[in-house]
Amino acid sequence: MLEIKDVQSFYGEALVLNGVTMNVKPGEVVALLGRNGMGKTTLIRSIMCLAQPQVRAGSIKWNGEELLGLKPHGVAQRKIALVPQGRRLFPSLTVTEHLTMIKPTSVKEGWTAEKIFDMFPRLAERRSHRGNQLSGGERQMLAVGRALMIDPEVVLMDEPSEGLAPVMVQHLETIIAELGKTGLGILLVEQNLYSALAVCDRVYVMETGRIVHEASAAEVRTDHSSLMKYLVVQ
């Protein structure tokens, strides 16, 4: 279980997260909604302990253990995976190398490149292409596949649907729903409420560095009028 409590994060002297508290239970798909610039990516980066932002207060616990102070690879080794905003694939690596750099091909436990290719046949066809030769949808699939290679217990997905065609967004929703059913916890950052509702169990809404609303997906499905003022009108 991922427990985030009263987290304050800074870029330099700029306070961007001002006391964020939320949690993701095992196997739960949780959506984090909010408009541009509200601090969603900052929260994801704080959880991964990346060099920026600087977390100056609060705690981020994973199964009871404090993550703050770890290096990002330490966070990932505790089975917290990242699908970053903008994919951030490696232009000079082939599709296969994106997967095998994380886990040698000799390891057969958990996710392997072949299992990822079974799940995303489109990637299998392009296995020797480089990261920058893929379409937007293929890039996102690879970003998800790459994250799975660490055999995560929770995946942080930062706006995976950004810039995708509607049919790809639907495909992605199917995949997220399927992964959720396998018992994988997912923290899904989204701007689109309906896309999030299609897959998630619970919803948090972030507004200028704070969580301003929390609800179960069921509640939001019956009445989301109270949320709409925080979200972009689609």
Binding site: K71, H73, P84, L93, M101, P104, I150
Partner: protein, 286 residues
């Protein structure tokens, strides 16, 4: 003034080969760690002196090469873990630190080996000359040429066919993401730094046998390596190879045809390339 003859062309190529050995280490470190290691020339010189001492006392050139590569790799380890770790993330401080280390190492070399000119003894079987393309040419220089090709092939295979190579290339692209994928990028950085340093050591011994070793040899090779990496593009192995060939040949052309403009013949084209391709021929923005 006159055209290049075959011997001069071969001289240019062997110099290019040596440059490649030294500059490939330089570009690996620059590309992955984003450190312009101005101590690279000093590591070359130190490697040369160590090779000279070991090869001289054991009578075995290849033992000299091995000792030099190991010692210089160790110096790389000390430089990275002992000093550079304190200025990580501060580009300018890193560069200044390596410059300081270059001065210290140069002085240390002066204390240990003095200011004389040395030449690493060449192994028996590489002495003398042989005919190539109808001209008489030193065997040792042909060995240097082949060694450069072998180093290129080995590095290419390492970078493109091994997992460590994939990690290095991914790190050149986006080190933060490699780290976020559960890989301790510091270890990859350190391995690369030691590998790059050991290549400077290799270059020192190999170059010390035909260019000789003297107290300013470090800054000379450093300037050439910088030119190679600027022309070829940071972090690119192919760029380093092409850059070495260009600089090696231009250097020979300059010396043969325009002796009074020898440096301009190298740095003029370098400036021209930079004007049109600021990232070098094979460089990529990050």
């Amino acid at each position: 003034m006159g055209g290049l003859n075959l011997i001069q062309l071969l001289n240019g190529l062997t110099f290019a080969s040596l440059l490649f050995i030294v500059a490939s280490g330089f570009t690996l470190i620059f590309g992955l760690l984003r450190i312009v290691n101005l101590a690279h020339g000093a590591l070359y010189l130190f490697g040369g002196y160590i090779g000279y001492t070991v090869a001289g006392s054991t009578g075995n050139f290849f033992l000299g090469v091995l000792a030099s590569m190991l010692c210089v790799a160790l110096m790389g380890l000390l430089l990275d873990e002992g000093l550079l770790r304190f200025v990580r993330g501060f580009d300018l401080r890193q560069v200044l630190l390596t410059l300081g280390v270059a001065f210290v190492l140069n002085d240390l070399a002066l204390v240990l080996w003095g200011g004389d000119t040395f030449s690493v003894p060449i192994p028996e079987m590489l002495r003398g000359a042989t005919t190539i393309g109808g001209v008489f040419y030193p065997k040792y220089r042909i060995f240097v040429l082949l060694l450069g090709v072998a180093v290129f092939a080995a590095l290419w295979l390492m970078l493109n066919r091994t997992r460590l190579g994939a990690l290095i290339r991914a790190g050149v692209d986006d080190a933060e993401m490699v780290e976020a994928m559960g890989i301790n990028i510091r270890r990859v950085f350190l391995a690369t730094f030691m590998l790059g340093a050991s290549l400077a050591g290799l270059g020192g011994v190999v170059g010390g046998a035909f260019l000789t070793l003297y107290p300013t040899a470090d800054s000379e090779i450093l300037v050439f390596s910088l030119a190679v990496v600027i022309i070829g593009g940071r972090g690119s192995l192919v760029g380093a190879a092409v850059g070495s060939l260009l600089v090696g040949l231009l250097n020979t052309i300059g010396q043969v045809m325009f002796p009074e403009l020898a440096y301009f013949v190298i740095f003029g084209p370098m400036a021209a390339i930079l004007a049109f391709r600021p990232l070098g021929l094979f460089g990529r923005a990050v």
